[in-house]
């Protein structure tokens, strides 16, 4: 009896203990690596991977597991579609997805770093956004330096040798593969666009604005003069996808505000927010908010949330980019969903900015990349070689062909230079490759953003996006090239690292700018106060250091 009692309570305890400890164990049910015999590297991979010295064994003989982080990779890799399978088979690897989200990827990387759980292939954006963190990671040995000799990976080498990348070498070594956005800094011109309802302009008798004041009164009219004719005060002026896009409104007032770069003023190099020219920007921004020209809820809306107001005819303008018009979830498709039977381009156009004080029209430009791939310091030489081979292929023309046309003999056939698309159609256009291969969006962008593929005038784009969208993007690009000049930008300062400049990452400009717009205090006085507060974070010291560094370079 006693024994039974003892057993009973011990058993009960064991159950409780198991419950407690269940949360303790780590998820160790590792998937079995695919036991298929290592496939010989396909001709494509072999041809792009470096010619290994004669006699060397097949570099892909050993099967490797590589963990990789990317925004939404969990969903993208869920189906394990044929494109992902092909990549894994060609390089004899298994890719283990580690998910990050747009809202928290920086935090997640820091947490993983602290917990020693960084993936082998790390998606990050600290070389530009946060050089201090980049230095920290390099100093603490979290990330792997690339080999000094990259000749075995010619396409990776090309990126590593680009002049604008030299600024992120530390002690002669490179710790990141920048994810190039465009092949040159000109193409950024179409990364910003202010869409406006031309039908509303016509109804209210408004011409294209030639100055900020005209622009501002147009937006105010959208908010106050009932442009949709429903006798209700339910419309607003301009909404934004994110604050970054909205900033281009102030480019004519203060060019460097648009790309948040440093400029030379009174003999010193200073960050844009410390410039005298900010005075005009803050006055204009505050006026827009006070007049209702700027969406009253801009500070509380999450990224992309406010676009709905534009789609639902509640806003007269939207700050976004040119290519956002294309695609099945693009703003054109969304607008037409809300306005059945209407053609987006009959109602909406892109508004061109007016000239700045010096008579020049400026267009957006910025650094060639903002995010990068890093390789975990714990990766051994075998894995490093495999990762670099994969990246070399991703950056190769063969890689581009796959991401443009799909899988050969399945989605297209080729004879000489002639491509024949053989993938199925959905209505009158071909089905979207990204729908067919959810992993493609991720794989294709691992090594570079490929934004240029999206905006080039190619038969594949015309087939996939429709002639009018492709033409619209091309027209905009041509207009910008012919009429506008890039914002004068000190590119080298983006990635420059000095002790005090690195600390400036503690300044959250967007928060302070937002606070200034929402406040009722005098905007100029308030802004000066805010910038004075930055001195406590080392602003003046950073200005001296950067000015000295630039002087060394004769600038």
């Amino acid at each position: 009896m006693k024994k039974a009692k003892l057993l009973g309570s011990a058993g009960l305890s064991a159950v409780m203990l198991a419950t407690v400890l269940a949360g303790c164990g780590n998820d160790s049910n590792k998937e079995q690596a695919s036991s298929s015999a290592p496939a010989a590297a396909s001709s494509q991979a072999a041809s792009s991977a470096s010619a290994s010295p004669a006699g060397e064994a097949n570099p892909y003989a050993e099967h490797l597991d590589l963990s990789v982080s990317w925004w939404g990779i969990g969903v993208g890799f869920e189906k394990h579609d044929e494109m992902l399978q092909k990549l894994e088979k060609d390089f004899n690897v298994t890719l283990k997805p580690m998910d990050i989200g747009w809202d928290n990827y920086k935090e997640k990387a820091q947490v993983w770093a602290a917990a020693g759980q960084l993936p082998d292939i790390i998606t990050n954006s600290i070389t530009n956004d946060n050089p201090a963190t980049y230095n920290e990671w390099v100093k603490q040995g979290l990330v792997h330096a690339l080999p000094d000799d990259l000749s075995a990976y010619p396409n990776v080498e090309k990126v590593a040798k680009a002049p604008e990348v030299q600024g992120i070498y530390r002690e002669g070594k490179l710790y990141a593969i920048p994810r190039m956005t465009y092949p040159n800094t000109d193409l950024w011109a179409v990364d910003r666009a202010i869409y406006v309802r031309k039908d509303w302009m016509e109804k209210l008798g408004i011409q294209d604005p030639k100055t900020f004041d005209e622009f501002e009164s147009m937006l105010t009219a959208f908010a106050t003069k009932d442009p949709d004719g429903n006798n209700k005060q339910d419309t607003t002026g301009i909404v934004m996808n994110t604050l970054g896009y909205f900033k281009s409104v102030f480019v004519p007032t203060f060019p460097q505000f648009g790309n948040q770069s440093w400029l030379k003023e009174d003999g010193k190099w200073i960050p844009f927010y410390a410039s005298k020219q900010m005075d005009n920007v803050v006055v204009q921004a505050r006026k827009m908010y006070a007049d209702g020209a700027l969406d009253r809820d801009f500070a509380v809306e999450k990224a992309g949330e406010a676009n709905q107001k534009f789609y639902q005819n509640k806003a007269g303008a939207l700050a976004f980019n040119v290519d956002s018009a294309s695609g099945s979830t693009g703003i054109r498709a969304e607008w037409e969903k809300n306005n059945p039977g209407q053609n987006f381009f009959d109602h909406v156009k892109v508004l061109h900015l007016w000239p700045a004080a010096d008579g020049t029209i400026y267009r957006h430009t910025t650094n060639s990349w903002w995010s990068e791939t890093m390789i975990n310091a714990d990766v051994d030489d075998k894995k490093l070689d495999r990762i670099l081979r994969i990246y070399d292929w991703l950056l190769s023309p063969e890689g581009k062909e796959m991401f443009d046309y799909g899988i050969e003999d399945k989605d297209f056939t080729k004879s000489g230079d002639q491509y024949t698309i053989t993938r199925p159609k959905d209505g009158d256009s071909y089905i979207d490759l990204k729908k067919e291969y959810p992993s493609m969006d991720i794989i294709s962008q691992l090594a570079m953003w490929r934004n240029v593929s999206a905006i080039e005038d190619s038969p594949i784009n015309r087939a996939a996006k429709g002639d009018d969208v492709v033409q619209f993007v091309q027209d905009e690009l041509n207009w910008q090239m012919q009429n506008a000049k890039p914002i004068p930008t000190a590119f080298e300062i983006f990635t420059m690292s000095t002790p005090a400049k690195d600390k400036l990452s503690a300044i959250n400009f967007d928060d302070d700018f937002t606070r200034m717009i929402l406040s009722k205090d005098d905007p100029v006085a308030m802004w000066h106060d805010i910038v004075k507060g930055y001195d406590g974070k080392g602003l003046q010291q950073a200005i001296s250091e950067v000015t000295a560094e630039m002087a060394k370079q004769g600038k």
């Binding site: 009692k5 770093a113 603490q140 503690a506 967007d510």
Partner: protein
């Protein structure tokens, strides 16, 4: 003595075996991770880990008190916490007493369910509902506009942020917090009420002479716990509702630390220092409240 203690344990061995998982739980998940507070006095090197990172004395604390944003957050935390104790804490007691006065059982249950339900909705969702309600084109502003008044910016006005925080938290949590009081009320001997009625006491007098004294002890314990949480201030709620426009009145220590640690890349050492600072204050407050309650003749916690 020694022997008696061992005997005591042996005699109640089954109870101790039952207690074991709970003790283990606390050791593993509450006490063991505490070594992390060492970070407050160290410069954290990710590769070396917490134990091998170099000591830097009180540097992190000095760094902290230099920052004006920290003091702003500190002040807001105090104000918001005091507000919560003064406004939100009594609300639950009032609701419990009111529900208790409902005569029909079915109606009582119905009210209780309706008031408790919001507790189960996360702040992420509640904040979405509130944005729809309070935004520029939200329901409330449409009503205001229809009445011919000017629209208000509810969500970005620093003066309105705290009232919105208090009201929304009362709406969300009042039913849940009232449950424990209702349970205490349910445990009161009905004969007391019968005797009071025979003596001619009305509803109000019964409430004052029987109901309230019976739940006073429970309220005191919960008050001590609430004061002990004063330095927390409700991260979930504020994080989901605030924006740069209301930092002046709504940025509390927890939200400030979150932004400093993860978004702006401040050092883990400094943010741990904040956490330790908070914990020490909470500890002091808890004991202070406990002492006060005991002084006033109530039952304390410790």
């Amino acid at each position: 003595m020694e022997k008696r203690f061992g005997k005591e344990i042996y005699k109640s061995r089954y109870l101790y075996i039952l207690l074991l998982p709970t003790v283990l739980f606390y050791v593993l998940f509450q006490y063991f991770p505490m070594y992390g507070v060492l970070l407050a006095f160290k410069e954290y090197h990710i590769r070396e880990g917490i134990l091998r990172s170099p000591w830097i004395g009180m540097n992190n604390f000095e760094e902290l008190v230099k920052q004006s944003e920290f003091w702003r957050a500190f002040r807001n935390t105090i104000i918001i916490s005091v507000g919560r104790i003064v406004l939100e804490f009594p609300a639950a007691i009032a609701l419990a007493l009111l529900i208790n006065e409902v005569v029909r059982q079915k109606l009582k249950k119905f009210y209780q369910t309706v008031y408790t339900f919001p507790h189960f909705i996360s702040w992420v969702i509640v904040s979405g509902i509130m944005f729809n309600f309070l935004s520029n084109d939200g329901v409330l502003n449409q009503i205001i506009a229809a009445l011919g008044f000017g629209k208000q910016t509810f969500l970005t006005d620093p003066g309105l942020f705290r009232p919105i925080i208090f009201l929304s938290n009362i709406w969300k949590e009042i039913g849940w917090s009232a449950i424990i009081y209702l349970a205490a009320i349910a445990g009161i001997n009905p004969e007391l009420y019968e005797a009071a009625r025979v003596d001619g006491a009305g509803r109000w007098q019964q409430l004052r002479a029987i109901t309230w004294p019976s739940i006073r002890g429970t309220a005191a314990i919960l008050l001590i716990l609430a004061v002990g949480n004063a330095m927390n201030g409700g991260f979930d709620q504020i994080f989901n509702l605030y924006n740069p426009g209301v930092y002046a009145t709504g940025d509390i220590i927890d939200t400030y630390v979150y932004r400093a640690a993860f978004s702006d890349g401040s050092s883990f050492g400094v943010t741990t220092a904040v956490g330790l600072f908070k914990a020490v204050l909470n500890f002091a407050l808890l004991y202070g409240a406990n002492y006060m309650v005991k002084k006033l003749g109530g039952e304390g916690l410790v």
